[in-house]
Amino acid sequence: MKQYLPILMIFTIAVGFGAMNIVISHLMGRKKATRAKLSPYECGMDPVGSARQRFSVKFYLVAMLFILFDIEAIFLVPWAVVFRGLSESLSKMFVFFEMMIFIGVLLVGYIYAWKKGLFEWNRG
């Protein structure tokens, strides 16, 4: 598993690089903060209300659908990797149809979501 160790190295280096840059800029930059400078930017006007607001349920739905289809994509990966190397033609045909069933079932879900108007962004 030694091939994976460079991940730790690059992680350390990248964090070090980023932190170093922030620290250097923190030390070198001028600091002359005023109240107006430190208030949230709203095109020069005084900020109106809080930025913490609630948002459309669409965003949660997108996140949820993303999880579901992401899992599907993950299942496709091992299949895609082994498929070409399967030797006997019978089992290859078998695996092909197994995967088509898998995709087909999920396609039903996709069509259902479409028909329910989930992808209609300009409404609701």
Partner: protein, 204 residues
């Protein structure tokens, strides 16, 4: 390799402690993300390469995005210090904790565990090395074919379920969320009105 295990385990435990000790739910969520990434590291030390990658892509990269979305955008204030409703949970937690400890002890001491030695890489094709994509792909279409197909149905059910969640939202706040039918109905009404005023105007 032990040193890596200790490193990742320490990060995972620290992240998990962060999840339960922080008052601000955002910090808790970040703690959970850290824990999940550390778990991916632990999987790697166990040579479960594919699972490690999936751990990050699905858990840290997808499911936690939803968590963070919900926490940030539902605008949950810092957890209030006293919630009476949850006081009894303390009494539930203690036996659960003991049960968990017993379980861990059972797994370590009682269950006989005979790990197969990992073959050296390069000597055998990747399909026979445990934990690689190839070995998982092969297992998926032979031994675990039924669970694999069942998963698709499970995901389908989840899609329908999430759709239902959103629909309930719609009926609760009909004022803010306008459905397509409502728009259509409103347009028809407006057209009727326009038509009426036109005919009335022509009459004058």
């Amino acid at each position: 390799m032990e040193i890596l295990f200790i490193l990742f385990a320490a990060i995972a435990v620290a992240g998990a402690l962060n999840v339960i000790l922080q008052r601000n739910p955002i910090y808790s969520a970040i703690g959970l993300i850290v824990t999940l990434c550390a778990l991916a590291g632990l999987f790697l030390t166990l040579a479960a390469q594919f699972i490690a990658a999936i751990q990050i892509i699905v858990y840290a990269g997808a499911i936690m995005v939803l968590f963070v979305f919900v926490i940030m955008l539902l605008n949950i204030r810092e957890e209030e210090s006293k919630i009476d409703r949850q006081r009894y949970l303390k009494w539930l937690a203690a036996p659960l904790f003991v049960a968990l400890l017993a379980e861990v002890y059972f797994v370590i001491r009682v269950v006989s565990y005979d790990p197969k030695p990992l073959p050296a890489q390069g000597a055998v094709p990747p399909g026979q090395i445990l934990g690689t994509v190839e070995s998982i792909g092969n297992a998926m279409f032979t031994t675990y074919l039924l669970p694999f197909e069942a998963t698709s149905v499970l995901i389908l059910m989840a899609i329908v379920g999430s759709m239902l969640l959103a629909r309930r939202e719609r009926t609760v706040s009909e004022v803010t969320i306008v459905t397509a039918e409502q728009i259509e109905a409103a347009q028809l009404e407006r057209e009727d009105e326009a038509h009426e005023t036109e005919t009335v105007g022509a009459g004058h």
